[in-house]
């Protein structure tokens, strides 16, 4: 029990310090922008399609679910606003964050982990190149940027998906769906979803880089790093989601 707690503390501190190191290297201009751009292309652009698909279906599912719950109260006119608000504030960031933790995070940790266990990172160090500046920092920045952008794309898609679903399956046309959106989706909701996107992107990038960089035990260890990355990212995303929702409801909604 105590050992488990201590390991969690050590890992958490390691993740934070690795992320801080990457950010510092980037801020002082020691990371080549071309490397970051290349990684953004590899990780981010490839995930756009999946994110759009996921966003559409999450939004559609939420629309059906909210409709089922509202039907008994005859309050279907609130469907659009409520479904968009629920998707934007919590369900959207959480589920799309999960997908990106699996797609971006696990890919990243598998790649860095494979380099680590085949001693490529030590080889770089022998050549006098800083492995964090050359390998980890570009990947960290790329996954940070692309997961934040992808999350926002996904959130827009949830609203679209809900609208499509309502028009096709639930007999609520676009106009009456959109009508209530501006009443219920306030600026603070949008701020909260952007804040959640930023936090989740940072969390999953830090966990993925740390787990990949510290992979041990051959290629089996890479599999373990992938698993740890996605599980830890999922748990941290959920915890941060609760924390942010709670703080936000305390500060902003009074």
């Amino acid at each position: 029990m105590i050992r488990c707690f201590r390991n969690a503390l050590v890992d958490g501190a390691g993740m934070v310090s690795l992320a801080a190191q990457c950010l510092r290297l980037t801020a002082t201009g020691r990371v080549k922008p071309s490397l970051v751009a290349e990684q953004i292309f590899i990780i981010g652009v490839r995930s756009v399609g999946v994110t759009i698909l996921m966003g559409l279906f999450v939004g559609a599912t939420m629309a059906i679910q909210i409709e089922v719950q509202l039907r008994d109260f005859g309050a279907t006119s609130f469907l659009g606003g409520l479904a968009s608000s629920v998707s934007l504030r919590n369900v959207g960031p959480v589920l799309i964050g999960f997908l990106l933790a699996g797609k971006v995070g696990a890919y990243m940790s598998a790649e860095i982990g494979a380099m680590r266990v085949s001693d490529q990172i030590d080889a770089l160090r022998c050549l006098g190149v800083d492995p964090i500046g050359y390998l980890v920092a570009p990947r960290f920045m790329a996954s940070l940027v692309s997961s934040v952008v992808l999350l926002m794309i996904g959130l827009v898609m949830t609203v679209l998906g809900g609208m499509l679903m309502a028009d096709i399956g639930l007999n609520v046309n676009y106009l009456s769906y959109i009508q209530r959106v501006q009443d219920l989706v306030s600026v603070s909701t949008l701020c909260l979803s952007v804040l959640k996107s930023l936090t989740f992107g940072a969390i999953l990038s830090a966990i993925a880089c740390y787990r990949g960089y510290n992979a041990t035990g051959g290629f089996k260890g890479v599999g373990r790093a992938v698993r740890q990355t996605s599980v830890e990212a999922l748990v941290m995303i959920l915890l941060m989601d609760l924390l942010l929702s709670d703080l936000w409801s305390g500060w902003v909604n009074g």
Binding site: Q65, G102, A110
Partner: protein, 225 residues
């Protein structure tokens, strides 16, 4: 005959332990966190629409039972169990163990696939139910702290909103998600290309495919229900 059935069951029980018992704490904690989050968020939404929060128990519980509890359980299982399964099978394939099993005349489907498939499906259903119970208790505490509900009041309102039908949908979803996760992971493990580098790829692909399959199946079942 009885011994053969027992052998078969033993394989399944091993898998059940790995993916059911060992995932229980993490799944219970995560679903509870989701239920707390739902209480906070639903009270915000209901207040926005109806200017009161008498409907919070019903709304947050329905959302949890029908939607988020099976999905979150399945996504956790996909990243915990699915990735491990794909990694394990791809290591077995790369070290020619799968060919060895096939050559020794053992039916791969009965020996490798069926125990994993049934174990993940069963444990996904069981974990969802157990997690729901824990999460409901958590939500009751949260609601009595934040919204001033008496625990008994909360439970009564919650039960007035949820029917057996909702639990049935929850279980169907959990079973379908579990089957999808296991199928996807086993497929990724078996089709891993030669070379040890493919272990990480197989694990990553199992996670992503499991997530996508879960969300798509979730939409289909919600639409049909």
């Amino acid at each position: 005959m009885a011994r053969r059935i027992w052998r078969r069951l033993e394989l399944c029980i091993d898998q059940l332990y790995v993916c059911g018992v060992e995932s229980l704490p993490i799944v219970a904690i995560c679903v509870t966190v989701v239920s707390l989050m739902l209480v906070i968020e639903m009270s915000y939404h209901i207040k926005l629409v109806l200017n009161q929060h008498t409907l919070v128990p019903g709304f947050s519980t329905l959302m949890l039972v029908r939607e988020l509890a099976p999905v979150v359980t399945a996504l956790l299982l996909a990243s915990r169990v699915g990735a491990a399964m794909a990694a394990e099978l791809s290591v077995m394939k790369n070290s020619d163990q799968i060919d060895a099993i096939r050559l020794s005349g053992v039916d791969l489907f009965k020996y490798l696939v069926l125990p994993r498939l049934s174990a993940v499906t069963l444990s996904c259903m069981a974990l969802t139910l157990i997690a729901l119970v824990v999460a409901t208790l958590g939500a009751t505490v949260m609601a009595s702290n934040r919204l001033g509900y008496l625990p008994s009041e909360y439970m009564n309102t919650m039960l007035a909103f949820t029917a057996k039908y909702d639990i049935l949908i929850c279980l169907i979803k959990a079973a379908v998600f579990g089957a999808i996760i296991a199928t996807v992971a086993i497929r990724q493990g078996f089709k891993a290309p030669p070379g040890s580098r493919s272990v990480g790829t197989a694990a990553t692909n199992a996670v992503v495919d499991g997530f996508i399959g879960t969300i798509l199946a979730d939409w289909v079942i919600t639409y049909l229900a």
